[in-house]
């Protein structure tokens, strides 16, 4: 079941804007040409005025509200949801994943509302990589990756040869083939992250969501992960959404940035358009320097308070 073989709704004009009606930005062209898309681009993922509020009296975060947020993403695109802690990044990710139903607005994946999909279908179309994965009883890396085939199996889900092939090629895709027979609790953080990513690939999703994937990684592993994601987006035509607070990484690797601050969506667009010094300084509450690099991508450096 290749992602390209799925039904997609009729093409419609695409805007990469926080509010409908805003003109397309130059960065859109840049994205299109970079991916070499032909024909009218179709949004695979449409977040349309989606908002959420945690019900009062529930958890600690009962005060928190995510205000209406909109953006669209196509096949092969990497979107970064960027913001400081408690800005609503993870909430937005849960809305996209369909775990939360939006209070207003909707989230469409190939024309279907993600929150309305049944759990199996959803797992076939959306793969989510969470911050950390704590195993109660350790298993080997390949067993872990095979779990990604769960939404495709029947009854007891004994893995088929096809499942095993998909799992091993998923491991190869993230350059973790040699980890296959290692125990999950005996590999490094970066290696573990790659295996977790391989499990998501084994789901053969249309949409790949990652929640703070770089959190426990050193800088080399962070860059390695983002390079991997960039390549996977291009090769497998995934739409990838990454939640992060790593300004520099998002600026370097994302096609689009969704900037959140205290539950408000401040700006949506390519990094060059979103990365304005005063805006970022206000959001991240620190002094920054932003300059445009030779590739047209913004470079951010920290200057201190």
């Amino acid at each position: 079941m290749s992602p390209s073989g799925r039904n997609v709704p009729a093409p419609s004009p695409v805007f990469f804007a926080a509010t409908p009606g805003e003109a397309p930005r130059p960065g859109d062209l840049y994205t299109q040409s970079r991916l070499g898309q032909v024909g009218a681009p179709t949004p695979r993922l449409s977040v349309e005025q989606a908002s959420y509020a945690y019900s009062a009296g529930g958890s600690q975060a009962s005060e928190f509200t995510l205000e209406a947020t909109s953006f669209h993403a196509r096949q092969g695109e990497l979107v970064a949801i960027l913001g400081p802690n408690a800005s609503g990044k993870s909430t937005l990710l849960k809305l996209i994943a369909g775990t939360f139903e939006p209070l207003s607005g909707r989230v469409l994946l190939d024309g279907f509302e993600t929150a309305r999909l049944d759990s199996r279908t959803r797992a076939q179309r959306i793969a989510v990589v969470l911050q950390e994965s704590q195993l109660l009883f350790p298993c080997r890396a390949w067993e872990f990756v095979l779990q990604g085939r769960h939404p495709y199996g029947r009854s007891l889900r004994f893995a088929s040869d096809a499942d095993v092939n998909i799992a091993s090629s998923a491991l190869e895709q993230v350059a973790a083939g040699r980890l296959a027979s290692r125990w999950m609790d005996q590999i490094s953080g970066g290696e573990k992250q790659r295996v977790i990513l391989a499990r998501a690939l084994a789901q053969q999703p249309l949409l790949l969501l990652l929640d703070e994937p770089t959190l426990h990684l050193d800088i080399g592993a962070q860059v390695g992960l983002l390079e991997n994601l960039r390549r996977l987006a291009a090769e497998n035509r995934y739409t990838i959404v990454v939640v992060t607070h790593e300004l520099a990484l998002a600026g370097e690797y994302a096609d689009q940035v969704v900037l959140l601050h205290r539950g408000k969506c401040l700006r949506v667009g390519p990094p060059a358009a979103v990365y304005q010094r005063d805006l970022l300084e206000q959001v991240f509450e620190t002094t920054l320097a932003v300059e445009l690099g030779p590739t047209g991508r913004p470079r951010v450096s920290v200057l201190g308070k």
């Binding site: 600690q60 759990s119 793969a127 989510v128 969470l130 704590q134 195993l135 109660l136 939404p151 007891l156």
Partner: protein
């Protein structure tokens, strides 16, 4: 990469089944009255050939009317407790969960005792009053696990320390209530009290009960087994399981009801036998795999083997006096519990 196959499951279960058969033979032989291996073999063949009328009356009484029913009871009780333990471990995401530690066995025992107290006042038919005990034991199990679950749940997460604490508190509270009922109610003997508190297989079972136990076990264990693949993912985390397509509400409900039923069935016939549900699944994880598709059947067979061995020891170590089988399992289980707890904290 060698994924788990049905063949592997059947093969491993076959090995354990053979082992169980051996244990049963030895258990039939051992006891206060010695039985020769030759005589036992000859009689088993006669029974298998349908010529049970040729058995000597002495053998028939001791081996087939006393020891065999007790062994069969031990098999079902061990399998039920062990599957219930493995289920609770996945459901609550806690490797130290087991019906006894969580207080579910005590809740079941209290329910069973309340049924015994209530039955004479309800003027029920004999079948209905026979069903009353397991039914009340089931309700007691469900109520206890629900109480322990909500005590341990904070902001949608189950805290494993609080869970064990809630279980221990429930267990001791319910045991105290059982003790209170037993000492204040007229006509209750101390032997019966030890039965509910320690677990014991020596009480003979009415025939209708045997059917209930067998049917109930296969229905509940079968229901849990349909969720085996989901339980594997649940162990990796609730959120992750949801993202991998597990219908978590359905799985929780099935496992919660089925594990409570298994505990209730075991407790209503044998009292609260401790540590089987904890010990056996862990040993099976070490011997085989922690994949629930393999773990559930191996735990069932392993639990049967463990309880039959424990009961044989209970019958023989201080023969002709008998120990409650729960005392034997606790003697072996408590040190293992401490070991697992230490390893977890380390």
């Amino acid at each position: 990469m060698r994924p788990l196959t049905l063949k592997r499951v059947l093969w491993d279960c076959g090995i354990l089944l053979a082992l169980l058969f051996l244990v049963v033979i030895v258990s039939l032989k051992l006891g206060a009255v010695p039985v020769s291996m030759y005589g036992l073999g000859r009689d088993l063949i006669r029974v298998a050939l349908g010529r049970s009328s040729e058995l000597s009356s002495e053998y028939r009484l001791i081996v087939f009317d006393i020891r065999l029913p007790r062994i069969l009871l031990g098999i079902f009780v061990g399998a039920s407790l062990s599957v219930a333990g493995a289920s609770f471990q996945a459901l609550l995401r806690n490797p130290l969960a087991d019906p006894y530690v969580l207080g579910v066995s005590s809740g079941s025992a209290l329910g069973a005792i309340l049924a015994l107290v209530a039955a004479p006042h309800l003027h029920l038919s004999s079948l209905a009053s026979a069903l009353l005990t397991p039914l009340f034991a089931f309700l007691g199990a469900m109520a206890t696990i629900a109480a322990v679950y909500f005590l341990a749940r904070r902001e949608g997460q189950i805290d494993s320390g609080t869970l064990l604490l809630a279980g221990i508190i429930s267990a001791s509270f319910l045991s105290a209530v059982i003790m209170f009922l037993m000492t204040t109610l007229p006509g209750r003997d101390l032997r019966g009290m030890a039965f509910w508190l320690m677990g014991d297989l020596s009480t003979p079972l009415p025939a209708s009960y045997r059917w209930l136990l067998a049917v109930g076990f296969f229905a509940a264990a079968g229901a849990v087994y349909t969720t085996a693949a989901d339980l594997n993912l649940l162990l990796a985390g609730e959120q992750e399981a949801i993202h991998l397509g597990v219908d978590i509400t359905r799985v929780r409900l099935v496992v919660y009801v089925a594990a409570s039923l298994l505990t209730a069935l075991a407790v209503s016939v044998s009292g609260a036998i401790g540590y089987v549900g904890l010990l056996v699944p862990h040993v099976m994880r070490l011997l085989f795999r922690s994949d629930y598709r393999l773990l559930l059947p191996t735990a069932a067979l392993g639990g049967a083997i463990a309880v039959v061995i424990a009961d044989t020891l209970a019958r023989t170590v201080v023969a002709p006096t008998e120990l409650p089988v729960g005392a034997m399992t606790a003697m072996a289980g408590a040190p293992l519990f401490v070991y697992l707890l230490r390893r977890r904290l380390a």
